[in-house]
């Protein structure tokens, strides 16, 4: 298939393809970060994760409408405000859900799956009732669309760069929060031994609530960012859920580094195969590969050594 092309053309295609893989990597990582905290750290199987993302997307949509109608002059920067609002909205919802539902279920992790599935049904219907069954189109400021030509043939998508930058920033923030701050220490202490952590004076309930809210808030930011590349509708959240869980599980649930590595591996495999195969087959083979590797190495790529 490469016979008719000059080396320069091929080179630029491969550069762009590498870039496509990096975008996919950022997308996967952004999807998975929130869940890595909720599932990885707290053991809660949050099936409504996609719906938290979509909440962020809807918040972005409303912010954009607000700016368009009232302060069009500042439209070009609305997205930053939208992301902050998305974080707050999803985080607040997360905090409420933790209080009303999740905190009763810490001893029964599999039951969180059922309860959050019910939650996701309810959220979908609420979105449908409030925002309509149709998809909404989120208008983006002009500077976020289009691409920067690096050379004559290599072009770099601006929204791709944006997602990458955002992912990098959030990953660093999460890493610092988890591994450098005293709050992170508390979270990890609670994860490793809830009773002991409580005994040494950590307010485990509060730690749980904020951890869950943080994970949901990050999901909201991810949803906000995905309005640039995907659709916003009541059921769009379901598109992400399998991929997201696989990334987290493949990485080894409790490890941030693992999540990063696994998002990288899966995205590179998928984007490379998509280039050579049809989209459907690429997806099947990627999933099969992940399942196969998980069978051989069930604990995921990276694991924490925890005494059980």
């Amino acid at each position: 298939m490469f016979a008719d092309y000059s080396m320069a053309e091929l080179g630029s295609i491969f550069v762009m393809q590498g870039f496509a893989g990096l975008i996919l990597f950022s997308v996967f990582l952004l999807m998975a970060l929130g869940l890595a905290i909720i599932f990885g750290q707290m053991g809660v199987i949050n099936m409504a994760h996609g719906e938290f993302m979509i909440l962020g997307a809807y918040v972005t949509y409303f912010t954009s409408q607000l700016f368009l109608n009232y302060i069009p002059s500042l439209f070009s920067i609305y997205f930053f405000l939208a992301m902050i609002l998305a974080f707050i909205a999803s985080g607040a919802l997360g905090m409420f859900v933790e209080w009303a539902m999740i905190r009763h279920l810490y001893k029964r992790p599999l039951d969180t799956l059922l309860a959050t599935w019910g939650l996701s049904l309810i959220l979908q219907q609420l979105y449908r009732s409030f925002f309509g069954a149709r998809e909404v189109g989120v208008e983006l400021p002009e500077w976020m669309m289009g691409s920067i030509p690096l050379t004559d043939t290599v072009e770099v998508q601006i929204n791709g760069l944006f997602v990458m930058g955002l992912t990098l920033a959030i990953t660093i923030a999460v890493a610092v929060l988890m591994y450098k701050s005293s709050w992170g220490k508390q979270v990890r202490a609670v994860v490793q031994n809830r009773v002991m952590a409580g005994a040494v004076g950590i307010n485990t309930e509060r730690v749980d609530r904020y951890t869950f809210a943080l994970g949901c808030g990050i999901a909201g930011v991810a949803g906000s960012a995905f309005t640039m590349i995907g659709s916003t509708g009541p059921t769009a959240g379901q598109l992400y859920i399998v991929d997201t869980f696989l990334v987290v599980v493949f990485g080894g649930a409790a490890s941030l580094l693992g999540t990063i590595a696994s998002a990288f591996t899966i995205s590179q495999a998928q984007s490379t195969m998509e280039f050579f195969l049809s989209g459907s087959m690429a997806k099947v083979i990627t999933l099969l590969g992940v399942v196969g590797i998980l069978m051989l190495r069930p604990q995921g790529l990276f694991t924490l050594k925890v005494r059980r």
Binding site: L110, L113, L114, G118, I122, F245, V284, L294
Partner: protein
Amino acid sequence: MILSRKELLGLTILATLILVILPLSLDIFRLNLVGKYLTYAFVALGLVLCWGYGGILSLGQGIFFGLGGYCMAMFLKLEASSVENTKIQSTPGIPDFMDWNQITALPWFWEPFRSLPLTLILVILVPVALAFILGFAMFTRRVGGTYFAIITQAVAAILTILIVGQQGYTGGINGITDLRTLLGWDIRTDNAKLILYFVNGLLLIGCLLLAFFVKHSKFGRILVAMRDKEDRVRFSGYNVSNFKIFVFCLAAAISGIGGAMFALQVGFMSPSFVGIVPSIEMVIYTAVGGRLSILGAVYGTLLVNWAKTSFSETFPELWLLGLGGLFIAVVLAFPNGLAGIYGSYIEPAIKRFLRKKSDLMPSGTLPQGSPAE
């Protein structure tokens, strides 16, 4: 003795409900709907065994239901695609969707489905084989809990994409539709629907008996022990993974039967059953019924589906709220589902009532309570 007295009583009541009360009180349309719901009860029953007793939560039971259903549907489709029925096709004698996809000869893996006995074997064998492969790979490596759940979910996703993508061989997203006869017997008539309903009901009761047998056998006790303290069982010299593989395969086999009965009663099979959403829904039937209750699985399935149908007929735009609320309520307030409600509220009330009576009649016997179901 397979059953305790209480279980025998419960099973008799359920059998009367399925085989006598419902057929007498419902018209054939509603009865056929109940028949469809009861096919899901097979899956729910399988989940009671592997999740409730074995502690293995699978989010991919729809896979086995779907495979069983596809096996049956392939047989029925081949019968419906006889040369005279399909003479307008460019290749007569093969299913219509193959013809649309320029496939000119029946693929090899369709061949076994020309024979009914072979089909009936495959209805059970194919799901069991896949369950064995999955189970063997997972359980010997001690994958469990949430990991297993998520991996089964991924397998369901893979299978859905494959079935939808290979539409020339599988019927794609439309599934296998327009099934007409079983060995020349028209399965679409009201009469046939009635007969199939009873066959389905009897098979379900058979599977319930099997489940009770498993529960009371030594195997069932080991399962429960394993669920509660896996390491201790392992240290006592049992091969834990073999037990898990067996119960997972058993659940798959039962689900496969349900799928086959679905294809017979509804007249088509669709890849939407293989996916993640129906698989999770089926887990929810089990949870609503009570994950430890064999009979509860059937009641849970009936209740949820009845709620779903009647909500969606009355409030088509709001029924998801009710359904979602039901799941949350069950998990938060009634973790043992209907069986739990029965065990902690209704049964004591009955006992009190009986006790009052037996006080009046000194020779009266109390029902012997077996350990909590």
